[in-house]
Amino acid sequence: MSVFDPRRSLGVAVGRPRRWIAVAVAVLVCVSAASVSAKQTHLVIIVGLGGEDSYREKFHRWASDMRDAAIQRYGVSEDRVYYLSENPEAYPGTVHSKSTKESVQALFTELEGAVAPGDQLFVLLIGHGSFRSEESRFNLPGPDLTAVEFDLMLQPFSGQQIVFVNASSASGNFLPVLAGSNRIVVTATKSGYERNESLFGQYFVEAYAGDAADTDKNERVSVLEAFTHARVRVDGYYAEENILKTEHAILDDNGDGEGMHELGQSEGDVAGTVYLHGDAAVAEGFSAAEVEADPELARLVEKKLELEGRVEALRLQKDSMPEDLYLTELETVLLELAQVTQDIEQRRQSE
């Protein structure tokens, strides 16, 4: 038996509380895969006022890409994807309604009954923002919506995991207003004063639409991965063009309202465990129903998640372990994980 039992070590690592949030989530995922699979993601995409055709087209493209990725890549049910646009007539069949203030508020009222406790509500704002009188706004056809008004709309969802991404310019002041428990808040800028056109939304959507952001190779993109991907791509754009960077995206996932651009120890742990659909089994190529119907498959999926959790726990012990021992332990767990993964693959191929 290993001297470094990851489960035992979980309880004694009191020196790094923030990291334990992630571990706790991982453990939660691994011990309750079946129940997790029952939770649903509800995606709300709101495209605001474009102003010019070029922006309208661009914003719609981003929104469509996000919608398609959610449905096609991550298995989010189409009827739980809500797309509100400035011009719904132009995109029949995909747009839920016009993105006026009233429509948005009506949608959130409707969602109060549809989003069950434990579900995930993922809100993405694409468009232009403004910042006047110390108040950030998201520009909509007709009256705008302020950060405070969005906060009021989100109040009923205290039992759900909320991901709120404002990819508009001047969006930074949304973060301190919206930050809170069970909420991951991302804004494209660090304050309301960064008013130039923002590129963040394009790259944030790109993260979900492609494979490049999946840096941990689990075939899912966490909010943290999407954020990091977008931030790096934005940085790269400004560096390549040799122009001064006018946007600094920030993220808060611990509710303190202090968003961070370069993620460190105080942010990112929760965002690293939250995915667009929140259903691990789907990522293995099986639906939740298929897993529930096949006890051996359920055991393998659960085993796989458990082993992934052990790797994470072991990694947290790395600094306190002799390197050779660490590598040996790691390899042992990974070999077991490789075998389980292979078994799952074989099972899928035999379907």
């Binding site: 840096t215 941990d216 990974l334 490789a338």
Partner: protein, 944 residues
Amino acid sequence: MTHRAELLSTARRDGDRRAAFRSEPVERRARPKAELEREYRDKRYALESPSSPSTESRTSPNPLAVNNLQACLPRIHLLLAVALLFTASATASLEDAETALREGRYDDAIAAFEDESVATPTPRLYKGWIEALRLTGRYDEALARVDAFLEKEPASVELENTRGEILYERGRIDEARGAFEKSNSGGARDHLVAELNLAILAYESGDVAEAMRGFDRFIDVYNQNSRLRAEELTAVAVACWYLGATNPQLYRDALKAFDEAKALDPASHEPTLLVGALFLEKYNSPDASSSFEQVLGVNAQHPEALLGLAKVKAFDGSPEALTLTEQALEINPSYVAARAFLAEQRLGLEEFDDARDEARKALEVNPVSPEALPILAAAELLSGDGAAFSEVERRALEQNPRDADFYNKLADIAVQNRLYERAVAFSSKAVELNDRSWSAYGALGVNQLRLGDIEDGRANLERSFEGDPYNVWNKNTLDLLDTFPDYVTTETERFELFIEGSESELLAVYFGKVAEQAYEALAAQYDYRPPTPIRIEVFPSHGDFSVRTLGLPGLGALGVCFGPVIAVDSPSARPKGQFNWASTLWHELAHTFTLGVTDHKVPRWFSEGLSVLEERRALPGWGDDVNLGFLAAYQREKLLPIAELNNGFMRPTYPQQIGISYYQASLVSELIERDYGFQAIRDMLAGYRDGFATPEVFQQALGLSLDAFDERFDAYLAERFDTVAATLRLPPEGEAPPTEVEDLASRAERDEFDFIAHLETGRRALADGDTDTAEKHLERAKELFPGYAEEGSPYLVLAQMHEDAGRSKRAATELQTFVDLNENHYDAHVKLSQLYQELAETEKAAEMLERALYIYPFELIVHEDLAALLRESGRYSDVVVERRALLALTTDRAQALYDLALAYHEAGDNVSARRELLRALELAPAFKDGLRLLLTLKAAEGDA
């Protein structure tokens, strides 16, 4: 200390009449890099300097060393005394004589003084007369005039200080001391100047404590006397200057006193000359230049102003220094300081025999000159005559057992000649002799850094800067050292790679690979293995590289070699396509070999020529090739004979001469290798190592005199370049070539040998869509000058044309020729690789990308493509290199680690594969490809 404070407070009370010292001490504090870079851009110290080993020779940090100043002080006071008299009443003819003296009409002045001496044989007249004789080097006549005055006025002590100063110029120190004492004790009008001169003599004889007490007394003189005359204020200023070594604030007081002296006697040149010298000593060349030019504006024949300006020019790296020095010597052929400076410049050009001759001439005038002795010593040392060096060293120390400046000058010259270990040894001696020789600590620190001794170097620089906060070199270098914690050291078999953290992971891979390859190749070539590890420092900011090399930004070079330490620009330091970092590294490493194998005695031109030759040998396209500038220089007979080739690097007289000299030097090496074999080059290097001069080395190794070799070289040039040079149809020098399309087209039509007309006509025809005409003229241009591979080369234009027409193979052929001539064109390499991929020539495609990475290794996609091509070619160990590079460039670390692991696996290294794979899976435990590979590795382990 009290009286110093009083002097400073007096300066404040005077209400900042002028800023006491316009050259502010530089402040040391940790600053953001961006701020430093901004500062670098704003500085006025831009130096145009050639690359490599002895670039620093033209920027000796302290060309007007303290000993130069000391040597000129006594006579300066003499002139002050004269100048003071100008203001008193005088006869019209005496005034005429004095005006002639001030304006540099020395013969007129001497004749007028002589005429007037019959009527008014006053000390004032004789001092003017003597000064005119002194400035023109007629020292014996000057002493005779002193005697003539004493015959008339036997009891007078008024000319004793003047006599002492002339005797000092001739090196008759004891007699000079006696004269100063007589002036001082006799209460002569200029007795304070004599008192200062006595303190200077004490200083120069090694009795520093006594000298400092003497200088210190001048502060009391200043504070207790509000009615000092100009010459006395100047004496106070000079005393403060000496005392500045103990308290840098006193340099400001020196300037203040000089300013007061100038205000009292605007006609006198001397405070202005001294201010110029002080500014130059404190590294402020613009203000120094302004001071000397001010004097020259009144007296263009003033030898001291000419020499001062020459030193400013040398400080600025301008070739005018030599001309100005020669002008000073035309006016005063016995001017010891100028002669010594000329000798020093000869040393910088590695003309050791000439330098020795000049130094000896100076010592004939003054056998104990503290300016000339170190130059002679250096000439002996550099000529390999250790015994003669020791003898000169003995003479210098006999004169002044604590003469730190003797060793400071030797250290400077050692650096100019790339003898860094010697420089460290000399500076160490200097600080042993005088623990307040701040310049010695600075030089010691800088050269320790050049030899890779970072900690001791930093400590000595800190000490130097504490004592001399005006030294911008040391300040810049210390600021740079503050950034060193951001660097990462990577060790390879023979190298220590010191690279900035954000670039280290990527660049260490390639720099290590190229450096190791170069070491092996060069070791075989030169039959010599330099001691290892060799330290390679790579700077992402060109300003930092320049500071590392010279202490200042603005160096035009890409790399520099100190022997065991090489510093180079990172490929990120310049825009993509501006240089080839790998050929630069190869070039600098070749210097490590040629310097090492000759104990650092190889002449600059030969070392550079061999380095370029080695570049060419390493890879097609590397190393300088013939270009229009070289051919124009050749056709206009501007190439230098071997004996003068160093001047082309170190004293260029026209734009491009440095680059042309590199190429010419490489051709010399190439010819020697062609006609005599490489062993002849090894023999030549051995000859230099044994201390032989270039003519002897050529004679011994090649059996030819330099003149005979020059003839052979001329024939070689004619053989290679006469035909192509003739096609250039160069307009007369200074006349622009025609640019009108019609002119060019008609030229091309009537002259089938006009390269430029055919090239331009072809390019313009292509721009107009006339591809047939374009091809005809461009092909002709290629035939006429096949080596032309600059921007706009016919190869490039034709390649584009063929590619547009879908003729990939022909486009590839054109580009291949182009990149085999041009090492820097990144896009051409990448494009050629794409063409080869289209043509299914995988290995060639890979080779082009490998060569592109030697220009710019930061583009991820190029590494990706190259890794794929190498894999396709079965070059698995090279795939590993690319995968390691990608690890440094990508944000998708788990994928990059997996790819690296796979590359190791395919290269047969499963141990490394397992290590990298575990790193990948540690980050991404669900990574299916990685998990599969892990099972594969496990199975392979079981099979094994």
